[in-house]
């Protein structure tokens, strides 16, 4: 790949990641329906719904789940176009491409002949539809959770669900420094692009990328030392103490109970 394409490609990817997180952070502060709920109730409801999306064996019910997610998008003041772009653009599209051969090679009742040898089977079509519906449902629910919950609240919820404190503190800190590293990597790519006049070969680009990775690797080690000293000077003694001011209100119970009922009804309709 030409160096210009390689650099721009990476810059675009990194900037997009930064942007999507900033957008999520903005949305999680809006006064919408889901934003106002306790993160623990949301997380529990989310897990219930994702498991249900995995268990349902009926396309209509999977569609009901998606419509419900869209309704929540509306009440949480998220724009549909933003949400659909975020959900559908990559993974479901990729899933469609992956599922195309399944239309033809899944053994079963042929329903549509193309030429004399190839035919689409009913089983193949259904199976592709299942895959697409499940992937879209699970992804919508996950993105809905992330767009309406602040990261620190999500971490407190995970801690409440008995995730070891060591892990929670590593995750929290990792998340913070991801942005610093994304920024600095982006700057390095930009700097490289802005001083590049000629075209570099793929090999030269690879060498540069590896040197940049080494620089970042060494930097992360140095930085971890500095972060440690900073923590130490603020009284860190190996224990992480956080302010978890989570409080469950009536609407949180209401949310969880209504989701549990919905899940029960969906599964009952499916398996009765």
């Amino acid at each position: 790949m030409r160096s210009e394409g390689f650099l721009s490609h990476n810059i675009a990817g990194l900037s997009q990641a930064l942007e999507s997180v900033i957008a999520a952070d903005d949305l999680s502060r809006k006064p919408g329906l889901l934003q106002g709920l306790d993160p623990r109730a949301k997380l529990a409801a989310f897990l219930l719904l994702v498991v249900t999306a995995g268990l349902l064996r009926n396309l209509a019910l999977l569609a009901v789940l998606f419509v419900m997610a869209l309704a929540l998008v509306f009440f949480s003041m998220i724009s549909f176009s933003f949400f659909l772009k975020r959900v559908l653009l990559f993974i479901p599209l990729f899933t469609v491409v992956i599922a195309i051969p399944a239309l033809f090679i899944t053994p079963g009742t042929p329903i549509w002949h193309i030429g004399s040898h190839i035919s689409v089977t009913q089983q193949g079509l259904l199976s592709a539809a299942f895959l697409f519906a499940r992937v879209t449902d699970s992804l919508s629910l996950g993105i809905l959770l992330v767009l309406t919950t602040r990261w620190m609240d999500l971490l407190s919820a995970l801690r409440w669900f008995r995730l070891p404190g060591l892990i929670v503190s590593i995750v929290g800190m990792t998340y913070r420094y991801i942005f610093l590293f994304l920024h600095s990597a982006n700057n390095m790519f930009m700097a490289r692009r802005s001083r590049t006049v000629a075209r570099f070969s793929g090999a030269a680009n690879r060498r540069w990328l590896a040197q940049m990775l080494v620089a970042n690797l060494v930097k992360s080690q140095h930085l971890s030392e500095e972060v440690y000293l900073a923590m130490l000077s603020r009284g860190y003694s190996g224990e992480v103490i956080t302010l978890d001011n989570l409080s469950v209100r009536r609407r949180d119970y209401l949310c969880f109970v209504s989701v549990a009922m919905l899940v029960f009804i969906l599964l009952w309709v499916n398996y009765r």
Binding site: V50, G54, G108, R134, V171, G202, M231
Partner: protein, 343 residues
């Protein structure tokens, strides 16, 4: 390689989560044992680094690009247990925040990319580079071979998990409910891409990074302390046990491994004429366990037994070979400098 939700049944997700749990438990215990207060910021910063690393597009010879996981690299720099935790953290953030890999499939993704990948990669790296100095070319070779082996082992597990779905979960009419391709389709389609593109990309990036680390920051490469050596052996046994547990998978596959056809199978493959030489050769080499089965025993038990006999033979040979090598090296062993690494 990130499996999204919907490709695996919730049952598989649960099984994979349970399979990953003991590794997390051991890794956490190991980290807690060696825990000094620096561990938390160090793991966090390296995890952040590998998150960014996974985002890069690496230009490959021939004009394509690929993403890398960098699991073996992390295992080389931090040690395998820290790498397990580090990559699991990254996968968790990717699953929750970027929708990259499913939340239910988190266990499966961690098992493949955060456990199998660094353990296999690190094991091969150690095998190739044992007792080599920090700047030895053997270490570079080890990192290249190890990262290639690691990512392909992870891809193999991914392909098997996906390929088992239609066999295990389908409706009465035969509609696959989750990933639609059986092993015969999923294995080649996942593995070809990883053997030919993603594997070389991983090996290339890991090799280049280790090369530059050797030249400028070789102390980062010495994290494998001599004292840890004894504890590493069980990784090998663990790997072997995992392979043994995977043996029944062979029973699900129909047909014969590619290139291992018997004469009668060559005929069914459409090769009607059989080279005379082959026919003569086959009778020359009396196979002790024809078609991997003991005579007069159930086919299944025979198959599993022959797997164990094969593994015992191979590990015996490796052990003998390894001992021979170590004897040879013992005379000119060059001890690595006392590893004071990340301080």
């Amino acid at each position: 390689m990130h499996i999204p939700d919907g490709y695996l049944s919730p049952v598989t997700d649960g099984v994979m989560l349970a399979a990953a749990a003991p590794f997390w438990y051991v890794a956490l215990k190991k980290i807690r044992r060696t825990l000094n207060q620096r561990t938390v910021p160090m793991l966090a910063l390296f995890a952040a680094f590998s998150f960014v690393l996974m985002m890069f597009n690496v230009p490959l010879p021939g004009g394509t690009t690929a993403h890398v996981v960098g699991g073996t690299l992390l295992a080389i720099v931090l040690g395998p247990w820290d790498a397990i935790i580090g990559i699991s953290v990254v996968l968790g953030i990717q699953a929750f925040f970027f929708g990259d890999g499913g939340v239910l499939a988190f266990g499966a993704n961690c098992f493949n990319m955060a456990i199998v990948l660094p353990l296999v990669g690190y094991f091969v790296y150690k095998l190739v580079s044992s007792y080599a100095g920090a700047s030895s070319p053997r270490r570079l070779l080890g990192s290249v071979v190890g990262s290639y082996a690691g990512i392909n082992a992870a891809a193999l597990f991914t392909a098997v998990e996906l390929g088992l779905q239609p066999q295990l979960f389908h409706t009465a009419a035969g509609t696959p409910l989750y990933a639609p391709y059986n092993l015969a389709a999923s294995l080649p389609s996942v593995m070809v891409g990883h053997l030919l593109v993603a594997g070389p990309a991983e090996a290339l990036v890991t090799g280049l990074v280790v090369f530059y680390l050797q030249r400028s920051h070789s102390r980062l490469l010495q994290s494998d302390k001599k004292a840890k050596e004894g504890g590493k052996r069980w990784i090998m046994w663990g790997g072997l046990a995992a392979l043994a547990l995977a043996t029944p998978l062979g029973l699900l596959a129909s047909g014969t491994a590619w290139g291992e056809w018997g004469l009668d199978e060559l005929k069914t493959l459409g090769l009607d004429f059989i080279p005379q030489g082959l026919q003569r050769l086959e009778s020359w080499w009396p196979v002790p366990l024809p078609d991997y089965g003991f005579p007069r025993m159930g086919a299944v038990i025979g198959y599993i037994m022959s797997a164990f006999v094969g593994m015992a033979l191979i590990s015996g040979l490796l052990w003998l070979g390894g001992r021979g090598l170590m004897r040879k090296n013992a005379s000119r062993v060059e001890l690595p400098a006392p590893g004071k690494v990340l301080e």
